[in-house]
């Protein structure tokens, strides 16, 4: 399995962390600049969440397309597969969102996403006393723990 890149966003939409391992198509051909790419990514999964909540066939109430969504209450998507990549999405109840792009043959990576949050992000970022929430971070410890874990499970 090939891992392409990872984004971490907070609840306001600020991209706190971005790392890429393999990106054959440069950002220039896609969104243009790095910050446009991050904003577009946030917009994409924000709209997909609204879409999934509205489409949910098992929701009790009549769906409200424009209403603001509460975290954890509605049906949310956790992954989508495009023709040559797969995007995995994980949202915590505090609004932190982790997005991981892999190749299209990946299986359900919900456990991996949960591990990345609980054992890597919480340990190296939340528990870091010098971390300012809401500001982008770039700690080597976080990156190397992430690399180490991905290498451990054979993904890198």
């Amino acid at each position: 399995m090939v891992v392409h890149n990872i984004y971490v966003f907070d609840r306001e939409g600020v991209c706190l962390y971005y790392h890429e391992w393999l990106r054959p198509k440069p950002v220039r051909d896609g969104a243009g600049t790095q910050s446009d790419d991050q904003k577009m990514m946030f917009g994409l999964f924000f709209s997909l969440k609204t879409f999934a909540a509205a489409m949910d066939p098992k929701s009790k109430s009549n769906a409200q397309l424009g209403a603001p969504l509460r975290i954890g209450e509605n049906c949310s998507f956790y992954s989508f597969r495009a023709s040559n990549y797969k995007l995995h999405f994980y949202e915590t109840l505090s609004g932190l969102k982790i997005v991981l792009n892999t190749d299209e043959n990946a299986n359900d990576l919900r456990e991996l996403m949960h591990y990345i949050y609980a054992s890597i992000y919480v340990e190296y970022v939340t528990k870091n006393p010098l971390n300012e929430p809401g500001k982008p971070f770039n700690y080597d410890t976080f990156t190397s723990a992430l690399n180490k874990h991905l290498r451990l499970i054979g993904q890198l």
Binding site: G30, S47, T50, F51, P57, A82, S83, L87
Partner: protein, 146 residues
């Protein structure tokens, strides 16, 4: 429990031209359904633009907690969407063969049908409902008789 919840067809400009619900009535009114179809059309294109690999043609499947949405895009830009239960097998094949074939035979070959316009072909409706009912019977899904 496998099951097909609904089928949508979106034309190449992003407008909804066909929608049908099975198993249970949808809790969305027509306006919201039209809006959702256009939203999907745009998100499909944005996902292709944001791809880390070149040559992406858009979203094929969306996996959510209570449903999976499969999308088949033809070379002409028409999209066939199918909202199914997560345990439903072979949906890609069903979309490409069953639904696409019915569309070709009862909609495109209908001389009175204008392309890109809403689909109002009774034969397509009845045959699609019959094929979906057959699949539900094969999977052992209990449906309310309408």
């Amino acid at each position: 429990m496998p099951g097909i919840y609904s089928v949508f067809i979106i034309n190449k400009s992003g407008g909804l031209i066909f929608n049908k619900d099975f198993l249970r009535p949808s809790n969305l009114n027509l306006n919201d359904t039209l809006r959702l179809a256009s939203i999907w059309h745009s998100l499909h294109a944005i996902a292709a633009q944001l791809a880390p690999n070149p040559g992406c043609t858009g979203i094929d499947a969306l996996y959510a907690d209570t449903f999976t949405l499969h999308c088949f895009q033809t070379l002409t830009g028409t999209k066939f969407l199918m909202v199914v239960d997560p345990n439903t097998p072979d949906i890609d094949t069903i979309l490409r063969t069953m639904v696409y074939e019915l569309y070709n035979n009862y909609v495109l070959k209908n001389p009175f049908y204008e392309v890109e316009m809403p689909v109002r072909c009774e034969l397509f409706d009845t045959n699609l409902a019959a094929s979906v009912a057959l699949l539900h019977r094969r999977w052992g899904v209990i449906t309310a008789d309408r």
